[in-house]
């Protein structure tokens, strides 16, 4: 029961990371792909949207890691060993993205230098979530085997499979979609810019469906346990709800109901991650590491959950204040 609660808080942190940090990655992608006569203004809007909140958004990832190694230490050890290569590469991406973004903001030298930072920021914003998606995918493949606490399948198992790579691609498109939807709201004062982001949101939202299809098909052989999970009784309901959100988001974008589109897109991302974790349950690293056999002793889990609850009490009001200050409708009048 405690282990289940810890796993649930892990999934919740992951969802919040995807909704906030994931969208920041998407912002980086659109920065790199800024096109057309308004490219410079698109970049400015993206930077303005991300700047005050990306540091806080990034902390969700740290929370995921910390909860993982506190509550499921053997699972953490196995993941860090088997997926050493993609995770190390992902870290380099995280370092480059964060520093390139801040360097771009504070470098007062002329355009050329800033463009280099911009490119580094954009590329790192693509590589990092791709690897994150591939790592999550790799956990489900069943290719990583752990015997007596030792990883026996080497350092390439799982993550260089079509399924894992498809998951990486899926994460990319998903975050690009999410970011574009958010940006339609941030650009509320600039109709032309808003139109650009709307177009991007619709295209990437539409592209998400075939990519999701590829992931699903690849799962059949690439992640059989996960695929089997997706055939349980709840799966059609969840799938239906996800599709509804997805179509709802696209429809809302079509009819320019941007606030509704944001809710639907966020719901879609949350449902996808919930579906993934339900299908994955009880495995953490399929098939050998599970929520039950990898969990820390009860004393640790109880304290961890207590700490998470207490932390949430501090965190949620602070986060609300942050987002109200920079994302609320009122903040846009003077911000221009």
């Amino acid at each position: 029961m405690l282990a289940l609660a810890a796993a649930a808080s892990l999934v919740l942190s992951l969802i919040l990371y995807a909704l906030s940090g994931g969208a920041d990655f998407g912002g980086g992608m659109w920065d790199l792909l800024a096109l057309g006569p308004r490219a410079a203004r698109q970049r400015t809007q993206i930077a303005k949207s991300i700047a005050p909140i990306w540091e806080a958004n990034h902390v969700w990832l740290i929370l995921v890691v910390v909860v993982l190694f506190t509550a499921f230490p053997t699972g953490f050890a196995a993941m860090m060993t088997a997926l050493n290569i993609p995770l190390t590469a992902m870290l380099i991406g995280i370092v480059l993205r964060g520093s390139a973004f801040i360097f771009r903001s504070y470098d007062t030298r002329p355009g050329a230098v800033r463009r280099h930072w911009s490119t580094a920021f954009g590329i790192a914003s693509i590589v990092t979530p791709f690897l994150q998606g591939a790592v999550l995918g790799a956990l489900a493949t069943g290719g990583i085997r752990v015997v007596n606490g030792q990883v026996t399948t080497g350092f390439f198992a799982g993550w260089v499979t079509p399924f894992a790579l498809a998951c990486g691609l899926f994460a990319l498109v998903l975050f690009a979609f999410l970011a574009a939807v958010y940006l339609t709201l941030d650009a509320r004062d600039q109709p032309d810019l808003r139109g650009d982001f709307r177009k991007r949101a619709i295209w990437s939202g539409a592209a998400l469906m075939p990519v999701a299809g590829v992931v699903f098909l690849a799962a059949r052989h690439g992640a059989p346990a996960l695929f089997h999970g997706l055939t349980q009784w709840w799966a059609p309901w969840l799938l239906g709800a996800t599709c509804l959100c997805s179509l709802g988001a696209l429809g809302a974008l079509r009819w320019r109901r941007f606030a509704a589109a944001r809710v639907a897109a966020a719901g879609q991302v949350a449902l996808i991650l919930i579906g993934w974790s339900l299908a994955q349950y009880p495995n953490i690293v399929t098939p050998d590491i599970t929520v039950v056999n990898a969990c820390a002793p009860g004393a640790t889990l109880r304290l961890l959950l207590l700490a998470l609850a207490a932390g949430a009490l501090v965190l949620l009001p602070s986060l609300l204040a942050l987002f109200r200050l920079f994302k609320g409708a009122a903040s846009h009048g003077g911000a221009g």
Binding site: I62, I92, S105
Partner: protein, 439 residues
Amino acid sequence: MNDFFFARSQMAMSLAFHIVFAALGIGMPLLMVMAEGTYLRTGEPVYLELSKRWARGTAILFAVGAVSGTVLSFELGLLWPGFMEKAGAIIGMPFSLEGFAFFTEAIFIGVYLYGWGRLPPLLHWLAGVLVAVSGTLSGIIVVTANAWMNAPAGFRFINGRFTGIDPVAAMFNRASLHETLHMTLAAFVATGFAVAAVHAFLLRRSPGSPFHRCALGLALAMACVTIPLLVLSGDFSARSVGRLQPAKLAAMEALYRSQDGAPLLLGGNPDDSARTVHGALVIPRGLSLLLADDPGARVAGLEEFPRTDWPNVRMVHWSFDLMVLSGFAMLAVAGWAGWIWWRRPPLADHPWLLGTLIAAGPLGFLAIEAGWIVTEVGRQPWIIYNVMRTKDAVTPMPGIAVPFLAFTILYAFLAFVVTRLLRQQFLETDGAVPESSPA
């Protein structure tokens, strides 16, 4: 040079890099709110300018500190899975609390940096106070995890298995108090001296600048108040280490033979095979006096421990002496500055003092790096003192030289860019303050 060597090198390099930003992340927000607080109290616009400029520096340093800290949280598992597998359940607690403290810091640094003019002045200042408090708190909490590696507590270790786990006892282990105290003070001292050096340098260029005069005053105030406390806490730390980790203490002092009335050895060249130190400055009975307030007290030497349990004596002893020397040098500079401030102000008109402050600028960070070498290398060959050896915790992953090189190059590049950008913030835009919101 094998994978174990590179894993240790990568961890050491990552920590050595991160600690600079972590310490500045504790010290800079305090300076920033001191400046803004002074502005709110006195209404002097120069202090507002100062807090904005320092906030820009803080933003750059915080970002690099955040990403290099993320790297460390992964590296714990990427490099030392054997350690995390066992220790995660025991010391995960401080890490998760640290996560929340860091979260608060990240949120309010966003509010502070981009909230100029959007918040009432007092609330804006309070956001800064929250950054300073949560930054300090997150440093304290994460150091308790390191303290646990030195003074493991909160579990029973029977037949290679960890049972009876008590995360609270682990967090409040016997090394937590002295380590957190010493490190937190060190962060304020190092930041204070480094920032004072920057503004002393700029004052030599433009002696009249009220901006740099105020900056120097605040930075020196922070440094001079904390350095005596730091030296005192150092004494407390050494006594605690003597009690908890006698082998580490013996290596710090290069004491090979156990003896009554042990001498204090300064410098010299420790020779493990001859079990003696060549060319050290010897203060008879000094060590016994310092550790036990008794010139005849017995101090355990390295000979009491199996040769395989010794750390690298030369490295630990030299780092320790370097740290202590830097500490006392800073204490002397602070004493001199304090005397001038009291008897012959203003400080900024003493060219010799300014020159000395410039020279003393790196000492705080030198001492922090040396101190962490003492803590970490001094604990070897253990990753959990007397429980788990470092070599038993290392990843089976081959080719660790590759990530080691990659991160070394990456961090060298980041250090170069950060230095450049900080120069831009403080040197090249010496005149008017640029816009507070960079985006």
